[in-house]
Symmetry: C2
Subunit: 552 residues, 2 copies
């Protein structure tokens, strides 16, 4: 009997860290990619706006036949445009995820023939190069999510995507355990499964549970209600809208990402809004305070979001009045706690009140908790198990769960990004790892550094700008802003350009309110935005901007 | 009748932010200070190690007669050495807090006559200049904590300190509500009360509740157990020790701050350790794994702590083996979540297991929750109420609580740092605020910048060093470390000194393990430490070091 071609899985990101999910599945020289995501930086990543996986390892992993995108979240599809800059590949995605990707690809790779192949959001078979693939719909916190099974000569490899087992989802699309059980009869070689909530016991509450609490919190508010949540959670938007209807209020939607997802929700019939419910944001002022709900972006305290601007009284159309209420219907993503708390502080300082997850079920996770993860394991009965999508502690907890579900020790594999797990005759072995890493990108709001992946010397090429801004104390004794440049190849680099940059910062900071001056996150965000625009306009360069705030 | 002298309170910190508690109480030209704390920086505060309140406003607040320190936590006494540099004042503190302050004052202000006046930890009267003061013992998470009442011509002003109403504390010292009720008959003008947990409903569980969970988690562990907590929580140390005894294990204590508090706990009879329980850290290796408990510093993920070094296999005496367990018996202070999670990741990657507050009652707060705060309000029946010690949202929640306890709207005062609240004939009015601010300090581990408070131009004087370190990717293609200087007045500033600094960084980073390279917090901590030492040794200067990590 001829040896079957080697089958292996190679995660290039998403293991041991949050975000950047990317899994390569190989059979001999053929390969496909499941998900290609990015990561958002924390305060420590100075000047950086996006973090991508280093995709150069893909060059060593055989012939790529396509990318399967399990759903529309950034940590699963955000790096696809970078991937397509260097690899000509079809992208398989549900209509919702395709609608998120398509305009980005068109705008940024204008010569590219549309590579998107839309998958049925209700699941079914498809073919990616030589691979037979089966997809299954799953519940999560954005519409149109899939679990995917890929056929290999060693058996089926199942990638869970992000999932939970919500038994009563708003769109009626449950994770169909019965279909998965039937499928499992074909023989599952390996299950690669979402570990996000492996440290959380029990069963994640259904999305629907949030509705009654939202409604009573909106109903009891004396003034206007602002609600912030993750913009892509169309089900949450729907429940806010329904609560607004029942509380006799109109709904305004503020922030580009909310507008985009409301539009998509309407397009795909997932957001049945009664006629007359929505009002434009500039009509909010004319309505009685007790008749308004406003959805605002900024649940993670992002300094340039609609909510942060509102909280600092810097919003064009809205201002916060005493008696207004903010409902935070979201999780606090680790690393964002201080920025979120600062926005909350600004809100209450302006006389607003605050309601968040501590005072009732105002948010539920989109990820399966331990009992659901165990159910998936028992349903699919895989020969091998690989926890994916999580911090090292979450992967370890998921590993323990698989062991307690009866999988033998040598069939549960805790991988790190770059590891190669090879399957051969039912046994699994680790090959020589491929190099993995991060690529830091700034400037997403403007043109993208398309060559960032190959040209890793961007800082050396486009330079580094360190801006030191002093705040606090007595204005007359405060040092002026200082701007330092390195590796910045431009004729004006050390002359009038720097003076002009300092002047811009002086004007910018002179205009700050006391609250803005006291909010590190806001300060750094503004300084970065200002200098980015300045250097692009004046030099055409996109240096890495590192804002340093020193208080005096 | 002659007008009585004006009475006012002026908080210079601690309102609307975490830390830096400082309250000035004035009567006419006489003033005393309650607490003088500092704040620890978050990742956003580049290069900064300590944040102090700007004490220059004290010059405008009359004749200072002394400082009353309610307890030994840094956010209540950490800035006292800076205060005493410019003001010659007696410092009133309980023996435990005095023992923390005394060596710092001796080491850093060697000419100073000991200014410490020890207060009875069981409370009682004392006199600070012209002020009669009554103190009351309260429960918290460090021994010897006081609530203080200060007599003024307008009535008594009560400052709660940090407190909770633990009814069964380990040292038997409860917050004595009956004594406070009796005292209240003298007439309380204003209560200034700890707001930390004003958003937390209910009653904070007693410290004692943590004991059984600690014991069972230690007992069931197959290998060595490492426990991390806040070093000053002597009661927690005692419970870990008792659990070790009952589980038949020895106890080693690692990290200077733990050693110090164990010593103080023994000195004050608060830590009854059976003979033979403690073993030195270098004896741990010789004991069977199942007979060891090790207390390690680093509950907040501090990159240079014993726990972080252990997790990265950089500890001199200890290493983590598969099967070892880490018990995190602490809260995750907002802003530290990512650093803590990274340490946890390193622990499980090394095969260790992790138990934290999510899996049982392994930590309780030291602060009163809402019901306790309400009890204090009802016990003291103050004419006026000022929530202190908290973020703006916590102050607002505490304000709401006071209103729901029946205080009238015009007697509940939400202040900001720098506000002056004046009491006159039972009425309260706001005066012109005094300027407040932060002073950033680095270099605590070395000599302190004693003049930092008056000389705010330290960055301009001693300069700024930005170190850009590239990690990840292919070593041959990675740019070398870059060091930028500004405002650094030294003859070698741009020549061989910089080359040497770059060389040091190159050596430092070449020695990093893969895990260290992937941990931003550790990278930045090491780079900062290295350059601080380098510039101090070579130039005698203490520039602000800003480490920037760029991944390639």
């Amino acid at each position: 009997m001829p040896a079957s071609p080697a089958v292996e899985i190679v995660p290039l990101g998403g293991l041991g860290e949050f975000g950047m999910n990317l899994m390569v599945v190989r059979s001999g020289d053929d390969a496909l990619i499941v998900d290609c995501g990015l990561m958002f930086p924390s305060a420590e990543h100075l000047g950086v706006e996006l973090i991508l996986p280093d995709l150069s390892a893909l060059d060593r992993l055989g012939t790529l036949h396509g990318v399967l995108v399990t759903h529309g979240h950034e940590d699963h599809l955000g790096a696809v445009p970078w991937l397509l800059t260097h690899h000509s590949l079809p992208v398989f995605a549900t209509p919702y995820a395709a609608s998120i990707l398509r305009p980005r690809l068109k705008g940024r790779l204008p010569g590219l023939v549309d590579p998107l192949v839309e998958l049925n959001p209700s699941g079914g078979p498809c073919r990616i190069g030589p691979f037979a693939v089966e997809t299954f719909p799953v519940s999560h916190s954005i519409p149109h999510c899939l679990m995917a099974a890929i056929e290999t000569p060693e058996g089926w490899i199942v990638h869970s995507g992000d999932f939970k087992l919500d038994p009563e989802p708003l769109d009626g699309v449950t994770t169909d355990l019965e279909a998965l059980r039937t499928f499992a009869e074909r023989g599952v070689l390996a299950l690669l499964s979402d570990s996000t909530n492996a440290e959380v016991p029990g069963f994640t509450p259904p999305e629907r549970r949030v509705g009654p609490e939202l409604e009573s919190r909106i109903r009891e508010a004396p003034g206007r209600v602002f609600v912030t949540t993750f913009a892509s959670n169309v089900y949450r938007i729907r429940q806010v809208a329904e609560a607004a209807v029942r509380a006799g209020r109109k709904l305004a939607v503020v922030g580009r990402s909310f507008e985009r997802h409301v539009e998509l929700g309407l397009k795909y019939g997932l957001l049945p809004l009664p006629a007359g419910l929505r009002v434009p944001v500039d009509a909010v002022g004319a309505l009685p305070a007790s008749e308004v709900v406003v959805l605002v972006t900024g649940s993670q305290g992002e300094p340039n979001s609609a909510l942060a601007r509102l909280a600092l009284d810097r919003h064009r159309d809205l201002s916060l009045e005493p008696g207004d209420r903010l409902i935070h219907s979201a999780r606090r993503i680790p690393g964002n706690e201080k920025a979120i708390q600062r926005v909350f502080n600004h809100v209450v300082t302006r006389g607003g009140t605050l309601v968040d997850a501590r005072s009732g079920l105002l948010h539920v996770s989109g990820h399966a908790s331990r009992e659901e993860q165990a159910l998936l394991l028992r349903t699919l009965r895989p020969k091998h198990f690989v926890p994916i999508h999580g911090e090292a502690t979450q992967l370890a907890a998921h590993e323990d769960l698989a062991l307690s579900c009866g999988l033998p020790r040598d069939r549960v594999h805790r991988l790190r990004s770059g590891d190669r797990l090879r399957f051969d005759g039912g046994r699994a072995t680790l090959g020589e790892p491929v190099p993995v890493g991060h690529v830091f990108i700034d400037g997403t709001t403007d043109t993208l550094a398309w060559d960032a992946l190959r040209d890793r010397r961007r800082v050396a090429d486009d330079g580094l700008v360190v801006a030191v801004v002093s705040v606090g104390g007595d204005r007359r004794r405060r040092p002026d802003p200082e701007v330092l440049l390195r590796g910045f190849a431009h004729e004006d680099a050390d002359g009038p350009l720097l003076d002009e940059a300092r002047e811009r910062l002086l004007e910018l900071t002179a205009d700050f309110s006391r609250e803005e001056r006291e909010d590190e996150g806001v300060l750094r965000g503004r300084v970065q935005q200002e200098l980015k625009r300045f250097f692009r306009r004046r030099t055409g360069k996109r240096p890495l901007i590192v804002p340093v705030v020193v208080e005096f």
